[in-house]
């Protein structure tokens, strides 16, 4: 029991020594070993490492891909002075810890400030050379690619790699949005009117077509009917002619008689007669000579 105190003391001393001599570098990290504030060594391999106690200090850096996301969207002017609000995010990581430390004192805030300056400048250039439609649709990739390249080139000097620059939101400012809404509304109205009027036109066309068909059908039917009737008339005429031409004189007489009969057939027909006609020849003279042969 008496020896217990020294044992503890020795253990604590050992731990103290160990902790000031050894350090671990995580899988996600790189480290810089400083000797009197001077960069002595850069450690890129994870694991257990050693340093001199007291005179050497270690600083760890996160080597994962980091995100920088603007809190507020940036306002850029595109071609034709149309403003857009752009919200982009940047994926970056430290590739050269020494350079990084020398340039920005290893301060992430300072680094992101530099990132933001460089990238918003590059974006401003790219947006200024393009129309809204280009940046929203056609050339989005190109914008992102070129900004990334430019920024990457620039920021290598501070030991940072730009993995990706991505446009998240490209929106129109509020006052422009309102006019877009109005335009959308007008456009829909146009479409609606077009639909309605083409509907009416289509309907009218169908009706007119139906009317035309009706006319055609009736006219053709009338034509065919007349043909049939004409045919009948012709055959009747032929029949009459054939029969009556046997004795044309008798036909004239016979037909006249029939015509008389059907012409004078009511009390309303008033005949003013002379008793000199053949019919009345016996009226005055029983010999029958008075009327006709006077």
């Amino acid at each position: 029991m008496r020896a217990f105190g020294p044992v503890i003391a020795v253990l604590v001393a050992l731990l103290l020594v160990a902790s000031s001599v050894m350090f671990t570098v995580d899988q996600r990290q790189n480290a810089i070993v400083f000797q009197f504030e001077e960069v002595k060594d850069v450690i890129t391999k994870p694991g257990l490492h050693f340093k001199w106690p007291l005179i050497q200090k270690v600083r760890l850096f996160d080597m994962r891909i980091l995100a920088y996301d603007d809190a507020e969207p940036l306002r850029f002017l595109t071609q034709g002075n149309r403003p857009v609000l752009v919200d982009s995010f940047i994926r970056w990581r430290i590739v050269d810890v020494k350079q990084y430390f020398v340039s920005v004192r290893g301060d992430e805030l300072e680094a992101t400030r530099r990132l933001r300056q460089t990238i918003s400048g590059a974006l401003r250039d790219e947006f200024g050379a393009r129309t809204v439609h280009d940046v929203v649709s056609g050339e989005r990739d190109a914008v992102m690619g070129r900004v990334r390249e430019k920024a990457d080139q620039d920021l290598r000097r501070i030991g940072v790699e730009i993995v990706d620059v991505r446009l998240k939101r490209v929106d129109l400012p509020q006052e422009v949005s309102e006019s877009v809404y109005r335009r959308m509304e007008a456009e829909r109205k146009r479409i609606a009117n077009e639909l309605r009027s083409t509907g009416a036109a289509e309907s009218e066309r169908i009706r007119a077509d139906a009317d035309r068909q009706r006319e055609v059908i009736l006219a053709e039917a009338y034509r065919d009917a007349q043909r049939v009737k004409g045919d009948g008339d012709a055959r009747a005429a032929a029949t009459y002619a054939q029969a009556f031409s046997r004795d044309a004189e008798f036909y004239a007489f016979y037909r006249s008689m029939e015509a008389y009969r059907s012409t004078f057939r009511g009390r309303a027909d008033l005949l003013l007669l002379e008793p000199s006609s053949d019919f009345f020849r016996y009226l005055k003279d029983p010999g029958g000579r008075a009327g006709g042969k006077k």
Binding site: V10, V180, M184, R188, G199, I206, F250, A268
Partner: protein
């Protein structure tokens, strides 16, 4: 270098370390032996234990037990559980050393090894443009600009699983946030290349697929270890400000269909009717033809028959027909017999009056016409009859 390497302490001790007090050396060896005893059972290999000084055994007493206890607790802190859905990732001094399967696992305790557990089966969901329910929109996220410079209100969800625990842990800071940013950026890019109508009405699946492909590409570029399982568009609609106009346009489309149908209905009404009327015309014409031809044939036949008889006795037949005809004509009509030679040209006939009377009496007599026409000589007491009688008398005189 590992802690158990017998040389590990040499470098750190430095030049001053060799001049350390002798009992420190001994204590160290003692501690090492105890440690090796404990490790020995597990590791199956004892260290090279130097012969122990007698004083070491004295130290072994109560303090030894206490130290052993601390060591046991320290070692026990190396146990951890990996559940069935997960994998453990073990780091040795911060360096990745292995991936462990589910179960109760042991790693070397604290400063030496550490572990992290990553769930590989859990389907993680990102909600973009809304939270919890589609009704609680986040307009800042959901309003997007389309190719034709319209604005669309779109909510979508992304489901993903982590397939590579190592990549998930080591390559990105806050990978969940990365996934969210990527999802939004990719969807906006696809929407920016699509037309409003395609987004709203037909192409939603297509857009979701394209967005998924793009998201996966970006995430692979970041080496996040994420595998997307689904991107679903929950809701795509025009912004509230213009909703009414869009609804009206949809209604207009239906109106158009309605009008077309009405037109078609009219056509379906008119054309069959016309066909019916046409059929009637045709049939009537056929009927007419049949009638006319039959009439002609009938009359011709009658004439021929009469002619046959007539040719046998022409004079008498002609006379008979003539008289018969005149009889039937005169018996049914009103007549005035005027002997022009007797009365000269001074005869006055009030023709219009006569016509009037015959018209009036014609009306009253129409019922009796049948009877009177049969009679050879009408003996009606009407004024016209009297007139005609008078005329006759006059004629006879």
């Amino acid at each position: 270098m590992s802690l158990n390497d017998p040389n590990w302490g040499r470098g750190s001790r430095g030049p001053g370390g060799n001049q350390g007090p002798p009992d420190l050396d001994e204590l160290w060896r003692n501690f090492n032996r105890k440690l090796n005893d404990l490790f020995g059972g597990r590791r199956g290999g004892g260290g090279d234990i130097p012969p122990m000084p007698p004083s070491g055994r004295m130290l072994g007493g109560g303090a030894g037990v206490l130290v052993a206890l601390v060591v046991v607790i320290w070692l026990a802190s190396g146990f951890y559980v990996v559940d069935a859905a997960s994998r453990g990732v073990v780091l040795t001094f911060g360096k990745f050393s292995e991936i462990t399967d589910p179960g109760l696992r042991w790693r070397m305790p604290f400063p030496i090894q550490s572990h992290e557990v990553v769930n590989l089966s859990q389907v993680r969901t990102l909600e973009v443009g809304y939270r919890n329910s589609v009704k609680t929109k986040v307009l800042k996220e959901s309003l997007m600009l389309t190719d034709d410079e319209n604005i669309v209100d779109l909510q979508f969800a992304v489901q993903y699983v982590v397939t590579d625990a190592q990549a998930w842990l080591f390559n990105n800071r806050r990978p969940e946030e990365v996934a969210m940013l990527t999802a939004e950026a990719a969807m906006r890019e696809i929407i920016g290349k699509s037309k409003m109508d395609a987004i709203l009405y037909e192409g939603q699946d297509n857009i979701a697929n394209q967005a998924q492909v793009l998201m996966q590409q970006i995430l692979d570029n970041y080496k996040t270890g994420i595998s997307l399982s689904r991107v679903t568009i929950q809701n795509a609609q025009p912004p509230e400000q213009v909703q009414a106009a869009f609804d009206d346009a949809v209604k207009a489309g239906q109106d158009r269909e309605r009008q077309k149908n009405e037109g078609q209905a009219y056509a379906n009404d008119v054309i069959p009717r016309a066909r019916g009327a046409a059929a009637r015309l045709t049939q009537e014409a056929e009927g007419y033809k049949a009638r006319v031809v039959a009439n002609a044939e009938g009359e011709a036949s009658r004439f021929r028959q009469v002619l046959t008889e007539y040719s046998k006795a022409p004079a008498i037949t002609r006379e008979r027909i003539y008289i018969e005809t005149l009889q039937s004509v005169l018996s049914s009509t009103s007549k005035i017999l005027v002997d022009t030679r007797a009365s000269g040209n001074l005869l006055y006939l009030p023709l219009d009056k006569l016509m009037q009377q015959s018209g009036v009496s014609g009306l009253t007599e129409s019922q009796a016409s049948q009877r009177s026409s049969d009679a050879a000589l009408p003996i009606d007491p009407g004024p016209r009859s009297r007139d005609s009688l008078r005329n006759r008398e006059r004629g006879e005189r």
